[in-house]
């Protein structure tokens, strides 16, 4: 029995036991359901082994939505605990675990897969390619992300969740102060999904540089593709720093090294520096693709081309450079000199300039445009003022002298939620609504969508604006309770109501999906939004090979040219199309990585070594494998094309 004791949760509560039962029942239910309906073969052939960028994108999308609800449940619990003074729903340890997992899940396992979903779904279509450069590597990226996400999510029922905050600062995250295996989960689950992110970065950069349609020069790429390109460049340069930091954190915890300790030459602040050298670029990895989506949506629904294309690209390049030069602003109060703080203050404020350029470009795109207030456009219009408030409070935080007042208060919490929710989450929901018809063949209901938007916006303002005030009044973040005498009670109650409205908004989004599956008309054509770029030029839903003939491009709005100016997109004869073969190896590697990660977390060395050998065996297998892909022949293409309305163009 002693062996199994390590898997017990150190701070059990009825809620955790209930979760265990619920997880058990859901897993049994899913396995039983799939077996009963005989869907294992279908799942394996169509999804587990797929290398199709569209299917991988959809899997990212579903995972991101699931994780949104996991992270959202954490958020509701936190707001409930703080909703009035001296609440006792959660104890201190449980509260620590919940704010930690909320942060990690939302950033690493919700926002990242959400942007990867759109990169996978949209980028190859926007550049007129048939898949990404390395389709199988793409599948591996997804399964590594998924293995990491599952590993992280079992932490709260097996062994205990991480409790040192999503920043996991040492020495708090060291063995002395973080005694459960929780922080091991943090180190290893993020490591596994981080390797996947790095691979996606390499894959997307290569795809965008080498696989664009004939005529599409770099400055004729649609804006979302530009934003994805820059975000992936940041990924390739930022993630290796995290890899090393996590490696050092892991060895500190598992092998008693002295990287981030306070004795024998260890240096705890090095973690904080490495973490934010990755962590600050990370927030731009999330926000730039969001900006890209807004650019597409605002231009489409203003019926105008994007204002200031070149300055949009230039400002993103500038943001990507500056993003690596600001990390110290996350710990102004932690002992650098005034000179260092001042330099980082200036670089931080400088980021507001290119961001401001983008805001004005969006406004000028709308100016004198014929605006259609669809759901994606509502999110985009809501984003501009709300995000600007978040940006301005960011400039306040950037003033290092004033930061001594703001640091680690609810003011900071309000600020970063104010950028991430209207910035990233709104963009993801806008993108979800905008691209849904392209991949599923029907629209989401506009009326329910508008309800979701208003509930979410009002809920957001109610939940987070009060935190600016309580933060300035001195309410510290991560504090699990407060006394009545502080006077924080009423505003925190307001936050709780806001959080509840947001939760209702997310439920209406799920309801909308279910409602639309049942009720939406299916004959929507290729271009339901009257859009402008190439992804709308192919059929809906998109055939496996994306384009029967590769498009010819002459501007950044090739499809608009084709619709309005008589530009010929598709010319020439049909030819055989070369496609990659499916493979089960990425899925199996995901499982082996999961086993390896789990074994490392609990220091089970025998299975860890076996699993590592398994990983290398898979790589060796891949080296020796001969895989030339397959061809879809002209006859087949003609058959598929004729199934779509109007036949081949």
């Amino acid at each position: 029995m002693e062996f199994f004791e390590r898997f017990a949760v150190p701070h059990p509560s009825p809620m955790i036991y209930a979760s265990m039962v619920a997880i058990g029942l859901v897993v049994i239910g899913i396995v039983f359901g799939i077996t009963y309906f005989k869907k294992w073969g279908y799942l394996w052939r169509e999804w587990f082994t797929t290398v199709d960028h569209k299917k991988i994108g959809i899997m990212y999308l579903i995972s991101a939505l699931l994780m949104l609800f996991r992270g959202g449940a954490d958020a509701i619990l936190m707001r409930l605990q703080l909703s009035s003074p001296d609440m006792e729903i959660l104890d201190a340890q449980h509260y620590n675990e919940i704010f930690t997992t909320h942060g990690v899940v939302m950033i690493i396992f919700m926002a990242m897969p959400f942007i990867f979903a759109f990169m996978n779904l949209v980028v190859p279509l926007q550049i007129g390619a048939r898949d990404v450069a390395f389709p199988r590597l793409n599948a591996l990226s997804f399964w590594l992300f998924f293995a990491g996400a599952m590993l992280f999510n079992i932490s709260f029922v097996v062994g205990g969740s991480p409790d040192a905050g999503w920043t996991s600062y040492f020495p708090l995250a060291g063995n002395d102060f973080s005694t459960s295996v929780g922080t091991n989960y943090y180190m290893i689950a993020i490591q596994i999904s981080g390797i996947g992110s790095l691979m996606t970065g390499i894959n997307m950069i290569t795809t965008i540089l080498k696989m664009r349609a004939p005529g599409m020069t770099l400055m004729k790429m649609p804006m979302f593709t530009w934003s994805a390109f820059i975000a992936n460049v940041i990924i390739v340069f930022a993630f290796p720093v995290l890899t090393i930091a996590l490696l050092m954190g892991t060895t500190d915890r598992l092998f008693a090294t002295n990287f981030f300790t306070t004795t024998n030459g260890g240096m705890d602040m090095l973690w904080a520096n490495f973490f934010w050298v990755w962590g600050h670029p990370e927030v731009y990895i999330l926000i730039l693709p969001a900006f890209g989506l807004y650019s597409e949506i605002i231009s489409t629904f203003s019926s105008r081309n994007l204002y200031g294309y070149k300055s949009m690209v230039g400002s993103m390049v500038l943001i990507s450079l500056l993003s690596f030069l600001v990390w110290t602003h996350h710990f102004f109060t932690m002992g650098q000199g005034a000179l260092t703080n001042s330099i980082f203050s200036v670089t931080t404020m400088a980021i507001a300039v290119p961001t401001g350029v983008k805001i004005f470009n969006w406004l000028f795109t709308m100016y004198k445009g014929k605006i259609r207030f669809t759901v994606p456009m509502l999110y985009s219009i809501g984003f501009i003022p709300l995000f600007t408030v978040g940006g301005v409070t960011g400039v306040m935080l950037a003033m290092s002298a004033a930061d001594y007042q703001f640091h680690n208060t609810m003011f900071l919490v309000a600020h970063f939620h104010n950028t991430i929710i209207p910035g990233v989450v709104f963009a993801m929901l806008a993108g979800l609504t905008y691209y849904w018809p392209k991949f599923f063949g029907f629209m989401l209901n506009e009326k329910i969508g508008k309800w979701s938007f208003w509930l979410l916006s009002v809920g957001f303002v109610l939940a987070f604006f009060p935190m600016y005030i309580t933060g300035l009044d001195g309410q510290a973040r991560r504090m699990y309770t407060y006394s009545e005498a502080t006077g924080f009670g009423p505003l925190n109650l307001m936050s709780f109501f806001g959080a509840a409205l947001m939760a209702i908004a997310f439920v209406t989004i799920v309801y909308n999906i279910l409602y639309s599956i049942k009720n939406s008309p299916r004959n929507i054509g290729n271009d339901p939004w009257d859009a402008r770029s190439l992804e709308w030029a192919t059929h809906t839903p998109v055939p496996e090979y994306n384009f029967a003939r590769l498009p010819q491009v002459a501007s950044s709005e090739a499809y608009w040219d084709a619709k309005k100016n008589g530009h010929k997109l598709f010319t020439g004869e049909l030819k055989d199309i070369h496609m990659p073969n499916n493979s089960g190896v990425p899925f199996i590697m995901g499982i082996i990585f999961f086993v390896a990660g789990f074994s490392f977390i609990f220091a089970l060395w025998v299975p860890a070594v076996i699993a590592l050998i398994g990983i290398f065996a898979c790589m060796a297998l891949r080296s020796f494998e001969l895989d030339h892909g397959r061809h879809i022949h002209v006859k087949e293409i003609k058959e598929i094309e004729s199934q779509y309305e109007g036949g081949a163009k």
Binding site: A133, T206, M211, P240, I244, T257, G265, G266, A620, S623
Partner: protein
Amino acid sequence: MKLDHTQPLEYSTDQNQLNILGFWIFLGAEIMLFATLFTSYFIFEGRTGSGPTPAEIFEITPVLIETFVLLTSSFTIGLGVHAMRLGRKNAMLTFFGITLLLGLVFLGVEIYEFMHYYHVGATYQTSGFTAGLLTLLGTHGAHVTLGLFWGLFIILQVKKRGLTPENANKSFIFSLYWHFLDVVWIFIFSFVYLKGMM
């Protein structure tokens, strides 16, 4: 598979070109990885706690042997790729074989070096300095070890299937990797060993 005969064999198909560009980007990520390791080493260099200092544990002889064999192996793999472009399969295999042998010698000496550190009391757990040093050297050494297996697999494939565009592509990419490890070693030699011994 369309072959473009104006290009060298390793660049001759579209997928080959993608693979090479993708690998260069991967090497960009590797540069960041090692840059992070070097940064941490420089920070930990003087933070020896109660453990030994760099000058107390570094020995010049094994380091010189390692440097010599690794630099030579970078030259021999260059000859290997040259032979490949001339279509001389046996010469290529010989040079690749020599490269891997030299890599193996490097690894052997590095293992000796690690045992030496262990015996003089500079273990992984001793201090910030030893942890930083062994992680930097260990990551490089792990790359070399992986390279030995990878190179062996490529030799076997070229032997079995000949100089196909695919194999030429793999061999060329492997040579990029091997040169990169050599470049990293030059930095380790200069900024870890020489600096530490001066």
